[in-house]
């Protein structure tokens, strides 16, 4: 195993792990805010839930980007040829 492979594996692990922190915090805040809003205004729960799902998916996209980068590093590394 050469250095590039080691660096790629490390990079993938770092990307996934750190890439999960930010979206995790953000999603937690979003869900907390949505809960608060639904508790205040239960009649708006439908709209809030829809918006929450869209927002969560958007935030999760960040983690997905990191995952994609990790996968690229692992399976489609352009430096390993």
């Amino acid at each position: 195993m050469n250095l590039i492979e080691i660096a790629s594996i490390l990079g993938a692990a770092l990307a996934v792990s750190f890439g999960a922190i930010g979206p995790g915090l953000g999603e937690g805040r979003a869900v907390a805010a949505a809960m608060d809003a639904i508790a205040r205004q239960p009649e708006a729960a439908g709209t809030l839930t829809r918006t929450l799902f869209v927002g969560l998916a958007m935030i999760e996209t960040m983690a997905i980007y990191c995952l994609v980068i990790a996968l690229l590093l692992l399976f489609a590394n352009p430096f390993l040829h």
Partner: protein
Amino acid sequence: MTESPLAIYALFHLGPIAVTEPVAVTWGLMLLLVGGSILLTRRLALHPTARQAALELLVTTIEGQIRDTMRVAPARYLPLIGTLLLFIFFANWSALVPGVEPPTAHIETDAALALIVFAAMVYHGVRARGLRGYLATFAEPTYVMVPLNLVETITRTFSMIVRLFGNVMSGVFVIGIVLSLVGLLVPVPLMALDLLTGAVQAYIFTVLAMVFIGGAAGDDAEGKDNKDRTP
């Protein structure tokens, strides 16, 4: 080491064109959707049967979403948005069929969908505002923003591709890894989560498409119709 989720293999060749797995699955989905539509819409009546009522509910729900998100009359955008939603939804859920990998788990399909959305965005922008008007939207709020707006237009299309691809592909990949480790019953919750993610991603993709197309088209007067709102 598992197989690369990014790899793509040709199933067979039609002349010079290599027919890959996503294309074949897409054909199957097309057959299913069109055949189902023809079957369901064969006997439409003023007094609806249960199936017709469900179909009408689906269509009116999509129309309502278009109306709520784009603030315009839904008729012009319904076929595109509805097709995107139905296709992505059924593509994501095609993982239910054993041995079938969703076409959206391959980046080429997502790129095709995003390309169509991009084309529709430009088309409706030009149609609603005229070429000059549409190009002028890139200079908002100031001319300094022109490069940023251009980059944003490209990147948001690209983010649509990667979002859908990453979600579906990661689901497939995670299930493949778990399946290779345990194999019995353990992947079932992950599959259920995958289905939920697939449905949500289909919805998000169409909502984003609506937002982008609606933003490009703006509040074009002919499309704006508040009277059409159903209570």
